[in-house]
């Protein structure tokens, strides 16, 4: 039962905040009044403490290998079942790190947005749901938490209440639901033909089980790839991402863009490597379609980011592109590719989070949203811009930052595999996209430190501590994991070796 604690604790704590906020609304009859400072610090203490405790619990549970628990049965053969394995440990660790850091950051940032109780309420609930998603032991449980993740993270997009955010949140909802139902179709089919829906390293299929039904099973798996790929921003269901991520408050965009998209990746990993098994789709049309879609997304995302003038939107397009690096790494179905994919999942989480937090600082301190207004920003906020620089280098993949290592593995994985022309096309596209990444990120760094002649440089004052410390930790992780990646690589290769 211990396994339920890190899932339920944040959900319960978040619900307390939401109920408190709801009661307040009823009392005040909707005349919004800002919370007093004292009340605010209480909310912050409550939320951050809740996050830290749940994160500690979650990681502790993650370390207990083989722990499992059946919560209840939807039907006799549909248990809501949780189980811990190395993959959940990996995901839960980086999710917890990001959530705690962003939680601290939000305490300051959210001062200029309203409704902090509601924000932190949903923030905690989303954390609980994500932990549930990581610990899910079968497809139905995964699907349950996947839907909940969409629904509970939607209020982030809605947060500021403007017309734009309403429309973006609906777009988010409809794309996610479309994806989820594609996934559900796959689950229906697999429930019929697969021997079990419980996650098993290397897949549950035996030759007997798909005898004669291979065609429909492949269609089902393709549906699931596209469906769960919607969350990961994979073409053709990617269009919601650049609309929804930027309108959320910056800490929420950071979480959406660095963590929630990864849950799409997690779902795909679970389906391909823990249900279908890599050998089942290796060499089939599904693999080729998947590679094509992911490479297309990589290229398209970078290109769109390159020509996007709004800072947060540019970062969102960049996420579209970068997460598809991960998907491509998975699609080549080799051990090295898989390792590269997981490494990039972790590194991109830290990097993209750092980038969005930087964007948040610029909005919070200077009210700048457009890239072109960031001229000379480095003069007044050197720490932020340095952190941004390191994170950018990581995303481009320049040694000694962590991004270099993951991209190295990704390229190597593609080259080692047996996938025809994709062996060379893949790495080539990754390289072109890296160049574009350099183009759209380094522009900001260069203009920030070396403004064009004649631009008036405003002074904005220093950024608050609670904002730059999390940022610095993330930038430090980007750099640190690049210099000392061995522990992580070894851990990931044990996961990979159990799958192939």
């Amino acid at each position: 039962m211990l396994i339920l604690l890190p899932i339920l604790l944040p959900i319960v704590m978040g619900s307390i905040l939401l109920v408190a906020s709801f009661v307040e609304h009823l009392k005040k009859n909707n005349d919004y009044q800002a919370e007093s400072d004292q009340e605010l610090s209480k909310i912050h203490l409550f939320s951050v403490a809740g996050l830290v405790v749940s994160a500690a619990l979650a990681i502790y549970v993650g370390l207990q290998k083989g722990m499992s628990c059946t919560l209840f049965y939807l039907l006799e053969d549909l248990p809501i079942y949780f189980a811990v394995d190395s993959l959940s440990l990996l995901f839960v660790t980086f999710i917890s790190i990001v959530f705690v850091l962003v939680g601290i950051y939000s305490c300051v940032y959210m001062k200029h947005e309203h409704e902090e109780k509601r924000f932190f309420g949903f923030y905690l609930i989303v954390y609980g749901v994500l932990v549930g998603l990581d610990f899910a032991g079968n497809l139905v449980t995964l699907y349950l938490f996947y839907e909940f993740m969409t629904l509970t993270s939607m209020p982030f997009v809605l947060h500021n209440g403007s017309h734009e955010s309403t429309m973006a949140s609906l777009k988010y909802l409809f794309y996610s639901m479309c994806g989820a139902y594609l996934g559900l179709f796959g689950i229906f089919v697999l429930y019929q033909y697969a021997p079990s829906l419980t996650f098993t390293a290397g897949g549950v299929m035996s030759v007997l089980s798909y005898n004669g039904n291979t065609a429909i099973m492949l269609v089902a798996i393709m549906c699931m790839l596209i469906g769960f790929g919607a969350k990961a921003g994979m073409f053709p269901l990617h269009a919601w991402l650049p609309s929804a991520h930027p309108v959320a408050p910056s800490p929420a965009s950071a979480v959406l863009s660095s963590i929630i998209v990864k849950c799409g990746v997690l779902a795909i990993i679970r389906v391909v490597f823990y249900i279908a098994g890599p050998s089942f789709i290796a060499g089939t049309w599904v693999q080729y379609a998947w590679m094509t879609l992911s490479l297309l997304t990589v290229f398209m995302g970078s290109l769109l980011a390159f020509r996007e003038p709004i800072f947060k939107k540019r970062l969102a397009y960049s996420s579209v592109s970068q997460v598809s690096y991960v998907l491509f790494g998975l699609a080549v179905l080799t051990t090295t590719g898989f390792e590269g994919a997981l490494l990039h999942t972790v590194f991109h989480a830290f990097i993209k989070c750092a980038l969005f937090l930087t964007a948040g600082i610029f909005i919070f301190k200077c009210h700048i949203t457009r890239v072109s207004d960031l001229q000379g920003i480095g003069k007044s906020m050197p720490i932020t811009l340095w952190c941004f620089t390191f994170a950018s280098l990581g995303l481009i993949g320049i040694p000694p930052t962590s991004g270099f290592i993951s991209k190295w593995y990704l390229a190597l994985g593609a080259l080692q595999s047996d996938i025809g022309a994709f062996r060379y096309v893949g790495p080539a596209i990754l390289l072109v996209s890296a160049l574009l990444t350099a183009g759209y990120l380094l522009e900001i760094v260069v203009n920030g430190f070396f403004p064009k002649e004649g631009t008036e440089i405003k002074s904005y004052g220093k950024e608050p501590k609670a904002m730059w410390i999390p940022l610095m930790v993330l930038a430090g992780l980007t750099l640190g994991l690049g210099v000392l990646p061995n522990g992580l690589i070894e851990f990931i290769s044990t996961i990979a070796s159990s799958l192939f």
């Binding site: 709801f22 209840f72 939807l74 017309h163 309403t166 429930y191």
Partner: protein, 491 residues
Amino acid sequence: MSEMIMPIVVLLPIVFGLTIPFVPLKSKKAKMFYVEGIVLVTSILAILMLLNQPTAEFTLFRFTDYLNVSFRLDGVGSVFVGICALLWPLATLYAFEYMEHEEHQPTFFMFYTITFGVSLGIALSQDILSMYVFYELLTMVTLPLIIHSLSREAIHATRKYLYYSLGGAAFAFIGVIFILVYGDTANFTAGGVLDLVALADKKELLTLVFFLCFCGFSVKTAMFPFCEWLPTAGVAPTPVTALLHAVAVVKAGAFACIRVTYYCFGPELVKGTWAQTVLMCLIIFTIVYGCSRAIKETHIKRRLAWSTVSNLSYILFGVILMTPLGLVGALCHMCFHAVMKITSFFCAGAIMHKSHTNYVHELDGMGRKMPFTFIVYTISGLALMGVPGMCGFMSKWALADAALTDGSPLAIAGVVALLISALLTAIYMMTVTVRAFFPGKDFDYSKLDGVKDPTWMMLLPFGLFVIAMIVFGVNAQPFVDFFTNIAMALM
């Protein structure tokens, strides 16, 4: 003598319902207690009957030696009795508050209560003729409920309802005749009453008759192309739309389809014939068509009515699969959809009652003023979408399981239609929620002054329904077991 309870539950609301306009009760409250008393007593008796499960039959009266109106309780009937008995008292409670400003209340409650008895009559009918009698009666007693406001629109809707229903009943009657002539018995028998070996040369004809009969009964279930009356009938007061046009009347149609398919003609006759194919195509089309119309519709009750059109075809989809699993899915959705749709209709009614708005675009910002109503509306929307943990997911699961076990291309197309419809459901339900809570930054709340949540008479049903939706959603096994028992008797 336990079978005596069957005519009692049918006749009690009919007889006492007739007295409602004439009882010499002065105060409004006393009348309310009287009406609620009748309904509650009937419900309690009906539930006692379900617990007792009388096995004997009871003949109410005879037309001729062979033709009679008689009752017997069986598994499928129990399901329909259960739905009606549990929902009617709550809906009546809700109607008190909703109808408080309307005219002709006694007449309204008279017919509302009589309908209860007639619906139970359909559920308890032992043979196809009795069912047909009550089925026609249902059309008649629900007419005054639709025409209630006496507006031009209401009269138009009533006329439409009448023509569609009578037309449907005429086709259904063909089926009734053929069953009476060719059937071994007129009584409902699991697996059908036709002796297929003896009637081998009539197979083609009987298939055609089945097709006509099914189409006839499916008018009440609003299968395409017979679906137009249902949204039009949305002009009726909300307790009518909610209970009759989401539960009792339309499910009586679905119930009749189940009876005709599994208990009269029998799955064996129809399975694999053109009739099954054509009906399934129509049903799959209705599933998507209803939802698409719901998105296009901006009148909130008509939108929900179109959603009902689509959801009713989920039930028919289960029925027409002609497998035990299909019947399980159909019965699941029959029960669960009843709860979900009555909830969303009640919310719509509460909104219309409190704010006098009818259209979706007028609901902006309303969520802040009526938070409980809109939260319940959202939950019912999530259930309709089939979010796991809610009852809608379980019935979708059961239907998809049945269809994929069947495995034919058309059945798989049906699963795809279910999922497309789920996505469309998300669109037409959730846009309302989001706009109600987030109308935009510079929205002027002052124009919503005076709008607030309804009183306990409306909120109590809401609360109970929400609990039901979640409990059924996380623990559907008892239902599925019960339905599986019913379905297994067919094979």
